[in-house]
Amino acid sequence: MDKTNINNTTPMEDMTIGGIIYNAGNSREVKTGDWRSMRPIFDSEKCKQCGLCFPVCPENAIPVGQDMKRTDFNYDYCKGCGVCAKVCPFKAISMEEEGVE
């Protein structure tokens, strides 16, 4: 049984007991960004790279490089909770309604 490849066509006999997930880190496969109703906008001009935003992101959707500098949001996973915008002391993150141009 391939426990790492279960989908909604898998018969019950081949599914893991209790829904246990054996391949760690597989939440990467589920792109939850389309749940978002509010979109954070990153203003790199205002950002001082203080490092307060990415530790509070519940989705790890703020990429940080080796130089410890953040880049633009990973919208595949950002659910738009707005915690990052709230903690930013420099107003470098603004929240906009999703789908409104």
Binding site: T10, I17, G18, G19, A24
Partner: protein
């Protein structure tokens, strides 16, 4: 040689837990099960066990701690009663759906309200569809024996379900009876060490438990639980057979007492079976062919087996120590009659709700049931199939 002792039902349960020596016990005191964690914490303090005792602040936390411990890879146990079990309710379902073989000692007590601390089975009946294996115990000896067999059943790879061992609050939990204890080393060998195949603290296999399980998946996972319940029947009997080799004490899915040639029979659970056996003996000495079926395994429910066992009886009374308040008889009654119908066995059967809130059920009461059954056999009539036993009413019950 086994050890002859005299213990209350709670002492018997605590002694079984001591001999099992689980990794974690998390429990909160509630009458009438309080003594179990109380005695057990003494064992912990005295170093008689290696258990981590978690003194939680509620039953919800007790079951949560057991879920966490068992998921981590530990053997976890708890004890509770009545509203304590009600408070665990949410986690009761988590335990069974995550397939964690937690073992609980449930000392049956009425669920409030109005407030009552005495015995009936309303607490157990509240979780009868929660996916736990449920064993009922007539005596202190059975409460002890069922606990010794519990982990072997629950942890079996074809089962992996939590299990509760029920006994009657006060009636057995606080009554001292003689009991045969198995030696510590033999219990240790029989129960064995817990070796879960998958667990959270296994650094070689990082896993995730209890994920989101939406429309595409939950149905199959519930069907897996249902299959495990079916598998449990066979495992329960296998473990009982091995237990009989160890102790000489025989257990099945239920006990048939003078049932084989019986004309009239009672079906019941827990301590009432002891009273009923006395009445059966008495009636037999007077030439009445009375019999008894005592259900030990309530979940999984041995529907077909029970239906067949009572197929030759002329009238049956099913005694429920909890009212399902559905205007259609008690839970055990519904299960027994459903089992008969599906297996094309049609014996006149009546439901009796009895012993609610610890109302004493005496031999006279049980004898009345047998007399009622004899009347049904004689007249072929059942005026009211939904009856109460020992209830005060103005005139005849409607």
């Amino acid at each position: 040689m086994s050890i002859r002792e005299r213990l209350s039902g709670n002492e018997a349960a605590a002694t079984a837990m001591k001999q099992i020596n689980p990794d974690v016990v998390a429990a909160f005191p509630i009458t009438p099960s309080t003594e179990i964690p109380q005695y057990f914490s003494t064992f912990v303090s005295n170093g008689a066990v290696d258990t981590e005792f978690v003194a939680v602040e509620s039953e919800h936390s007790a079951m949560s701690a057991c879920v966490g411990a068992e998921a981590a890879g530990a053997r976890a146990m708890t004890a509770t009663s009545s509203n304590g079990l009600s408070f665990m309710w949410e986690m009761i379902y988590i335990a069974s759906s995550l397939r964690l073989p937690i073992v609980m000692s449930l000392v049956n007590r009425a669920v409030s309200g109005p407030l009552n601390i005495h015995n009936d089975h309303s607490d157990a009946m509240g979780v009868r569809d929660a996916g736990w294996i449920m064993l009922f115990s007539e005596s202190n000896q059975e409460a002890y024996d069922n606990l010794l067999m519990a982990h072997r059943i629950a942890e079996h790879k074809d089962v992996l379900l939590p299990l509760m061992v029920c006994q009657d609050g006060f009636i057995t939990s606080h009554s001292i009876e003689t009991i045969d204890l198995v030696e510590d080393d033999k219990v240790k060998e029989f129960v064995g060490t817990y070796k879960p195949e998958h667990y959270l603290l296994n650094s070689k296999e990082p896993i995730s438990m209890g994920p989101l399980d939406l429309q595409g998946y939950l149905f199959e996972h519930k069907a897996q639980q249902s299959q495990a319940m079916k598998n449990a029947k066979k495992v329960i009997l296998e473990v009982a057979e091995e237990f009989e080799k160890l102790t000489g004490r025989k257990y099945g899915l239920f006990e048939e007492y003078k049932l084989e040639d019986a004309d009239v029979a009672i079906v019941c659970m827990n301590s009432t079976a002891g009273t009923a056996k006395f009445v059966v003996d008495d009636l037999r000495s007077k030439g009445v062919k009375a019999g008894l079926l005592k259900v030990r395994v309530f979940r999984p429910f041995p529907a077909e087996e029970i239906a067949k066992a009572i197929s030759n009886v002329k009238a049956v009374a099913v005694l429920d120590k909890a009212d399902s308040l559905n205007a259609a008889g008690g839970a055990l009654f519904t299960d027994v009659t459903s089992g008969m119908f599906v297996n094309d066995i049609h014996v006149p059967t009546v439901s009796y709700i009895y012993g609610i809130g610890g109302r004493d059920t005496k031999t006279d009461d049980i004898e009345k049931v047998y007399n009622d059954l004899l009347e049904i056999v004689e007249t072929g009539k059942i005026d009211n199939p939904y009856r109460h036993l020992g209830l005060r009413t103005k005139g005849a019950e409607k």
